[in-house]
């Protein structure tokens, strides 16, 4: 009936359609890596290359190779350290902040509501709102005169409500709130997925073992969520280190440069100052920092 040919002689067409595992792997990975090379690797190499030059377009200067001079300058650059400090501060606040808020949202969204879609939609909406507009909206919320926050404070009886965006501390707080609001959503999404994979029987076992709700949360939920938490943290940390749109729209780095982040500084150096060499240096530095942080995470996962 289905007699195969007595000798197994695949046609060229069949061979083409049936590559070996290794060839197939190469074929399947090729597009991804081609794109990465084009969109990421080449630009990064360009940046690294540029960072070795004095390349100030508006200085009318021709590119002049300066070796590591740009990096040496970077170490002396107060603005860079201040931006780095702000970036790290924002990261240090918003990453745990988003984790806590996201966890809360995920736990609440995981309750067996009768009608689940409004909750789910509410959970996902912040994530779907374009980042640059989130900044605008929150800048509006925190506006001294016309913002909702101060309006509420006044209604609560405050005479002179704070000028949120005109103070480094309050400004950073407002920025962090906006960032946490925006990013806790995706965090919650990942955690919610993680939550749903914890077998109910573990809670039942703990219940029988005598654990209270609180103990169950710390002894079961948190450790079981750890893989999801780590994934979420990695993504969140990488994006936190790149924070740009929200402070850019909310405070523009003001007052002075006190709320400027690294990405804003790099943007300013490259686009406003047209200082490509130094901007590239700052970008490479930022990349190295991201790399260190991620490596630290990965090390930790490796240990688990």
């Amino acid at each position: 009936m289905n007699q195969p040919p007595s000798k197994w002689q695949p046609s060229w067409r069949e061979r083409l359609l049936d590559p070996s595992d290794r060839t197939l792997a190469v074929l399947l990975l090729a597009p991804a890596f081609a794109l990465l090379a084009l969109i990421v690797a080449y630009p990064i190499l360009r940046l690294i290359w540029n960072s070795g030059f004095e390349l100030r377009l508006s200085g009318g200067s021709v590119a002049r190779f300066v070796g590591l001079q740009n990096y040496a300058d970077l170490l002396q650059d107060r603005e860079f350290w201040s931006a780095l400090g702000n970036t790290l501060l924002i990261t240090a606040i918003t990453v745990p902040g988003a984790l806590v808020v996201g966890m809360g949202l995920a736990l609440l969204a995981n309750l067996p509501f009768k009608r689940r879609w409004p909750v789910r939609l509410a959970l996902l909406l912040p994530w779907a709102l374009p980042l640059s507009f989130v900044g605008l909206i929150f800048a509006w919320f925190f506006h001294t005169d016309y913002g909702i926050v101060n309006d509420l404070l006044v209604r609560l009886g405050m005479k002179e409500p704070p000028m949120w965006l005109l103070d480094r501390g309050l400004g950073l707080a407002a920025i962090c709130i906006a960032i946490i609001w925006k990013t806790s959503s995706f965090m919650a999404l990942i955690l919610l997925a993680g939550l749903q994979m914890i077998p109910r029987s573990l809670y039942e076992a703990a219940e029988v073992d005598g654990a209270s709700r609180w103990q169950q949360f710390w002894q079961i939920t948190v450790p079981m969520l750890m893989p999801s938490i780590v994934v979420a943290l990695i993504f969140r940390t990488i994006t936190a280190l790149q924070t740009f749109d929200i402070p850019f729209t909310m405070t523009r780095g003001g007052p002075g440069h006190t709320t400027e982040t690294l990405a804003m500084l790099i943007h300013k150096t490259t686009i406003d100052y047209l200082d490509v060499g130094y901007g590239s240096t700052q970008a490479v530095a930022m990349f190295l920092i991201s790399l260190c942080v991620t490596a630290a995470y990965l090390r930790r996962i490796g240990k688990e």
Binding site: E204, A206, E207, V208, D209, G210, A211, P223, M224, M226
Partner: protein, 358 residues
């Protein structure tokens, strides 16, 4: 005083059709009770209600004489072993077992001692520092049991603890649980749908079907005096042969002219009934007590090594007989099956009730 008592316990999941229809049950102190029944009959639900993991829709559950309807699981002093073990994947075996003790603020020395003892009992001392995923199924099961034992609760609940294990391991663990029970003298309620487990482990078996208690008796009684056709068909491997027949004048007419005389205690019923006979009660050789015979034709031979299963076509019915390993014959040959009228069972064709002297 009963260790566990169920009084007219009912359950329905929020407003839907009831799952458990008013069950009364008493489990004595130190008794090993097994719930058996087909999938979906409500075994787990009942067990979980005892544990406090499901709310009780009606009736009362008493543990040690106290109504516990409103108590959360942790206040019931029970331990439970789950089908999928439900070990905490992120804790070591030691911590898995110690968890319940720690929650009760047991002094560390005591924790060490008790976990150590139980681990020794279950032969898992050498792997206390491992995580559950580094264990085989049988080892995990042991840890799950250890976790239950270590707390020394009033009552143990087991929900199909062996069903994820392979046959060999299942046998071993079964013996282990039996030994544990004898040793600890604990009160145990055990859910399974494996009848070998039920038969070997139970002091008493509670057979459930569709949320009803069908029979609650010793394994011997359940096996030899099934209270209902359902129970008869559920026990024994292979299970009892059940033959629809018409009973009249103390004779069961099996169709195609095959008749069997009923013993005295089964007479007095008439109409359509179901006649039952266990495979091991059908023999090829005459024996002193075998006062009846059936002629048939051999349709399938399954040698199992220690014994052989024969499927025999008798009239329109197929009967399975369980004979010695030394059987030699071949498919299609004619056979005479000998059976004793005293080993016949009769069930009402409508409601499945076992019929005895009318």
């Amino acid at each position: 005083m009963a260790a566990i008592e169920l009084r007219q316990v009912r359950k329905s999941y929020d407003g839907r059709v009831p799952i458990i229809h008013g069950i009364d049950l008493e489990v004595r102190q130190g008794e090993f009770v097994v719930f058996v029944g087909p999938s979906g009959c409500g075994k787990s639900t009942l067990l979980r209600m005892i544990a406090g993991l499901e709310t009780i829709s009606g009736g009362e559950i008493l543990i040690d004489g106290e109504v516990v309807n409103e108590r959360p699981p942790r206040a019931r002093d029970i331990a439970m072993v789950f089908q999928d073990y439900a070990l905490y994947p992120h804790k070591t075996l030691f911590e898995n077992m110690a968890f319940g003790l720690r929650l009760r603020k047991t002094p560390e020395a005591e924790v060490q001692r008790r976990v150590g003892e139980v681990a020794a009992l279950l032969r898992i001392e050498h792997m206390l520092q491992r995580k559950p995923r580094e264990l085989s199924g049988g080892q995990r099961q042991r840890v799950a049991i250890g976790r239950a034992i270590v707390r020394q609760p009033k009552v143990f609940l087991f929900d199909e603890p062996l069903s994820n294990l392979d046959a060999q391991l299942r046998n071993e663990m079964r013996a282990e649980i039996k030994r544990l029970h004898q040793r600890l003298g604990a009160t145990i309620v055990y859910v399974t749908h494996d009848q070998t487990e039920a038969m070997t482990l139970a002091d008493r078996i509670c057979v459930l079907q569709g949320g009803h208690k069908m029979q609650f008796d010793t394994p011997e009684a359940v096996y030899n005096r099934p209270a209902a056709q359902f129970v008869a068909g559920f026990t024994g491997a292979p299970p009892m042969n059940l033959l629809r027949c018409t009973v009249q004048d103390g004779q069961a007419e099996l169709g195609q002219g095959v008749r069997l005389a009923l013993p005295a205690n089964l007479r007095g019923h008439s109409g359509t009934q179901v006649l039952g006979v266990r495979p091991e009660n059908l023999t090829l050789e005459p024996r002193p007590d075998a006062d009846l015979q059936l002629q048939g034709r051999l349709s399938l031979i399954e040698p199992l090594g220690a014994e052989t299963l024969l499927t025999v076509q008798v009239g329109e019915h197929e009967l399975v007989a369980r004979v010695g390993a030394d059987f030699h014959g071949q498919s299609g040959q004619a056979l005479t099956l000998h059976l004793a009228s005293a080993q016949l069972h009769l069930f009402d064709a409508n409601d499945g009730r076992a019929l005895r002297s009318a």
